[in-house]
Subunit: 323 residues, 2 copies
């Protein structure tokens, strides 16, 4: 319990031998599981099965059917854990209720988040990796397990989903090198990309339409507002993660430097601001009692829509008119 | 003039020595230039400049400002052509008016389209490449020219735009390997991806809103229709290439197997059909006097909107109800 971060750090090679020596693995995913936590977990699961180990994947939330291609050969077995491995989980707060019993018992955490709190006994953290799946790729290579298309597809899923299919700035030469190798190993990349990047839910498309209808432009089209009403959320049944995608829309418009989403809540509006390089979103939201990052920030305004818009426009005016 | 295709074919190495020996290059791009023809042309241009050659890039249509990062070091010079090279142009019909004078004088064509008609004296055709830029990458390597970030960015642009940022099924392990190498050589991939994949024009976003408002579902949500009216095209000022993106929307909806776009024309509707694997779009459009590919096809119906929809529904009924 008194180990320092550096004492907890472990190399890829040591992780590989730790896994080769261990038995009866519980592999933990974070709640609201995404492609990286799942791809990492199932990639590791199949690798361990190939070594003749017992293993299971645990997650507090159900796994979407979209990932069926990587879960289809998974076999749930009952056994007590010999070694507990967390993948892509930066903090025990992300365990969710079902995994809480394991939060002080994690033997090994494999992750890429700089914010990792080192809750595990041993930590393999590569914060320059675009995805935890890149780290798992190295571990599987070091374990010397033979690849197959399902393993390759799981790892490819982690990398492609965490990079917006190689679009984001977290991509490195290594991400592409690993992807090339996964193609050679039979990753079903075309199918995976279609599922992950070329498919929108009916609720999402309906919400897009409502959000676009609410679009208004200010400051000579350099700022765009959209509104997401409680009514629209109810009508479409859209999920929180899908709403994140909606907030990205206004800033994507050519020439728009500040995209603002007004999301109705009980008692006011949650404001989400996305900006281009020229403008600091966190400074802007700071003026309204909120905060965040330079390119994405937020705040809450306990007013009706007209007043909320007015306050955002007032906060924006000095920034937008000075240029 | 009587050479066969095989006699016209030339290897990467021979192209490299042909370029090293040549002087005063005209590099031709296809009309309505995209990221691949431009990235290929400017990549080659900068490579030739490094060898101390004179070179110029020619295109029948203006080059969008979006590509400013690759055109910024370009210097237009006046000279007569010593060698004419066409990049990413499968057919002389794609030369456009300004380039027509060169159509029977092309010394070398570098391309990846299987449909290339071998109009040039020498042809380097790699139809397994996702982009012509992949072929140019090999040529530059074979020429032994030192890379710089602008050259790397030009080639990266060709590959990323022709693959939808590594999403499409034309991607190979080699595409990713070249991308990795281009990252190492300083390609400004993050910026390029933001410009190419994270930016929509105001006209496009307005048209999306109108198209989404017109969305209707049939056959238990397995089929979606959108309408693009002449009025909407006029109001938004949307370009033809942007309209292509709109036609992709209905099929992207989860569960939708057939997405149909009704685009109003003088005297009727141009129907564009996109399908998932289960359904053959060209068969469907064949019934209505049109044709195309298995996943994307089209036809024209000289009727008003209500009748056009009725005819499409009738053609769809046996296909959709049989499943």
């Amino acid at each position: 319990m008194t180990k320092t971060k550096d004492q907890k750090r472990i190399s890829v090679e040591d992780v590989a031998s730790m896994l080769r020596q261990g038995e009866d693995f519980y592999i933990l995913c974070h709640q609201h599981p995404d492609g990286d936590t799942l791809g990492s977990a199932f990639g590791l699961y199949y690798a361990l099965k190939k070594l003749g180990k017992r293993a299971k994947v645990l997650c507090s939330d159900p796994i979407s059917e979209r990932y069926g291609y990587m879960t289809k050969d998974y076999l749930e077995e009952e056994f007590a854990p010999g070694m507990i491995v967390a993948v892509d989980i930066a903090d025990t707060q992300l365990f969710g209720e079902k995994l809480l019993p394991y939060k002080d018992r994690v033997d090994l955490c494999i992750d890429h988040h700089p914010s990792n709190i080192f809750y595990a006994e041993r930590v393999l953290l590569e914060d320059q990796s675009a995805a935890t799946a890149e780290v798992i790729y190295e571990v599987i290579e070091a374990m010397g397990v033979a690849w197959d298309p399902v393993m390759a597809s799981a790892i490819y899923t982690g990398i492609s989903t965490d990079t917006g299919c190689f679009r984001y700035t977290n991509v490195t030469a290594r991400s592409h090198r690993i992807a090339a190798d996964l193609y050679d190993k039979g990753a079903m990349a075309g199918m995976i990309n279609r599922i992950m990047f070329d498919t929108k839910s009916l609720s999402r498309i309906r919400m897009e339409q409502m959000a676009l209808s609410s679009m208004e432009y200010h400051f000579n089209n350099r700022c765009a507002f959209i509104v997401v009403s409680l009514d629209a959320i109810r009508q479409t049944g859209i999920s929180d993660s899908e709403l994140d995608g909606i907030s990205a829309i206004p800033r994507q418009i050519e020439g728009v430097q500040v995209g603002v989403t007004f999301r109705e809540k009980e008692g006011g509006y949650k404001i989400s601001v996305r900006t281009s390089e020229e403008i600091d979103a966190s400074l802007l939201c700071g003026k309204l009692g909120g905060g965040g990052h330079a390119r994405a920030a937020g705040c809450f305004i306990a007013e009706d829509l007209a007043h909320a818009k007015e306050m955002v426009l007032l906060a924006l005016a000095p920034v937008m008119e000075g240029r």
